[in-house]
């Protein structure tokens, strides 16, 4: 038995609207992938979440035409990226996946980014110490210089990532409120 949710999400859009939706998904999947290097399948699935907010894996299969395995893999990826959340549909063993907001402004996404960045900064500081302490022995190897330069550069760059998200939030508040 197919759940009502399933039918509701996968095929209920008006055909003309559905055609426009396909056009949107195609655009974001190809164009955005070119720019970000994101996998086209991930982009496609993400765009469906942007538009439809909540979907089951079954819905996603119906919408994209991808296999169950492909869908399950990309759903897992989006869960890991904190872009969607997973819930069980009451009274069933089915899961429904939800994207509350766009990932850029989801506080969860933002917080995760920040803690990841902090950990990376600590690791980089350790590396910098090791590189500096062993400079004499290490500088003979060609890769030493580029490694040192990269560590320093990343240490300068990473704090700006949080600033980047703050700036986006600022801008959005100005526009949306």
């Amino acid at each position: 038995m197919t759940s009502e949710k399933n039918l509701l999400n996968s095929s209920c859009f008006d055909p003309e609207i559905r055609a426009i939706e396909k056009e949107i998904v195609e655009f974001f999947a190809t164009k955005a992938s070119e720019v970000t290097g994101r996998h086209p399948i991930t982009s496609k699935v993400m765009t469906y979440f942007y538009i439809r907010k909540e979907l089951t894996q079954h819905d996603l299969q119906a919408l994209t035409g991808f296999s169950a395995g492909t869908i399950s893999k990309s759903v897992r990826k989006l869960l890991k990226m904190n872009i969607i959340t997973k819930e069980t549909i009451p009274g069933t063993h089915k899961h429904i996946y939800t994207m509350e907001k766009l990932p850029f402004i989801s506080p969860q996404y933002f917080l995760m980014t920040e803690s990841i960045i902090d950990d990376r900064i600590r690791e980089l500081e350790e590396m910098k110490k090791t590189l500096e302490a062993n400079r004499e022995e290490m500088k003979k190897f060609e890769i030493y210089h580029k490694s040192y330069e990269t560590v320093t550069q990343l240490l300068r760059l990473l704090p700006t990532v949080s600033v980047f998200f703050e700036k986006i939030e600022e801008e959005l508040k100005k526009r949306i409120d």
Partner: protein, 175 residues
């Protein structure tokens, strides 16, 4: 003793090299970039110049994976391919630096923003057709388009600000 010291230094350096590549790969995951692609970018950057063979030794990925990855990175304007006149082997180099992405990929971003603006405008015109406004799915699509129209200028603006900031930092940092 001396050669012993040297081999530990080499090992430590190797560990750091992998550490840096992992960090870059990890951070790129936030953007949804494929880990294998990010690792290839990071290693090409650290080694300044790589060949497909060398990338294979460094990553353990199959030649097919590597050849696909370098091809798409070349298309994205992230790496540049040159041919060694003697060995006839192809060398890969990164355009620009990690902190300040290659000028071509920055141009790509802004080109993408403007393409997107045009695209959303086109979709809006389509949705504005009278007979569609009470059709199922109309609300969802309109909301999506409106949200995108709010968000992308914000991202564009923030990107511009950050790029200016990073390039200023690089300038003062390289002195």
């Amino acid at each position: 003793m001396n050669s012993n010291n040297q081999s530990t230094a080499k090992q430590k350096l190797k560990k750091i090299e992998n550490g840096i590549a992992d960090i870059i790969t990890n951070l790129s995951f936030l953007k949804g970039r494929q880990p294998k692609i990010s690792k290839i970018i990071a290693l090409t950057y650290l080694h300044r110049k790589t060949t497909q063979k060398q990338l294979r030794e460094l990553t353990g990925y199959s030649l097919g994976t590597i050849s696909n990855a370098v091809q798409s990175l070349e298309k994205m304007g992230i790496i540049r391919k040159t041919q060694d006149p003697q060995t006839r082997e192809y060398n890969y180099e990164l355009e620009g630096t990690i902190a300040q992405p290659g000028s071509r990929s920055v141009t790509n971003i802004f080109e993408y923003f403007s393409q997107q603006k045009q695209f959303l405008k086109k979709i809006k015109t389509k949705l504005a057709q009278q007979h569609l406004s009470n059709k199922k799915g109309y609300e969802e699509l309109s909301q999506f388009v409106n949200k995108m129209e709010d968000i992308f200028p914000a991202i564009e603006h923030a990107t511009q600000k950050i790029l200016t900031q990073v390039s200023e930092q690089n300038r003062s940092g390289s002195d």
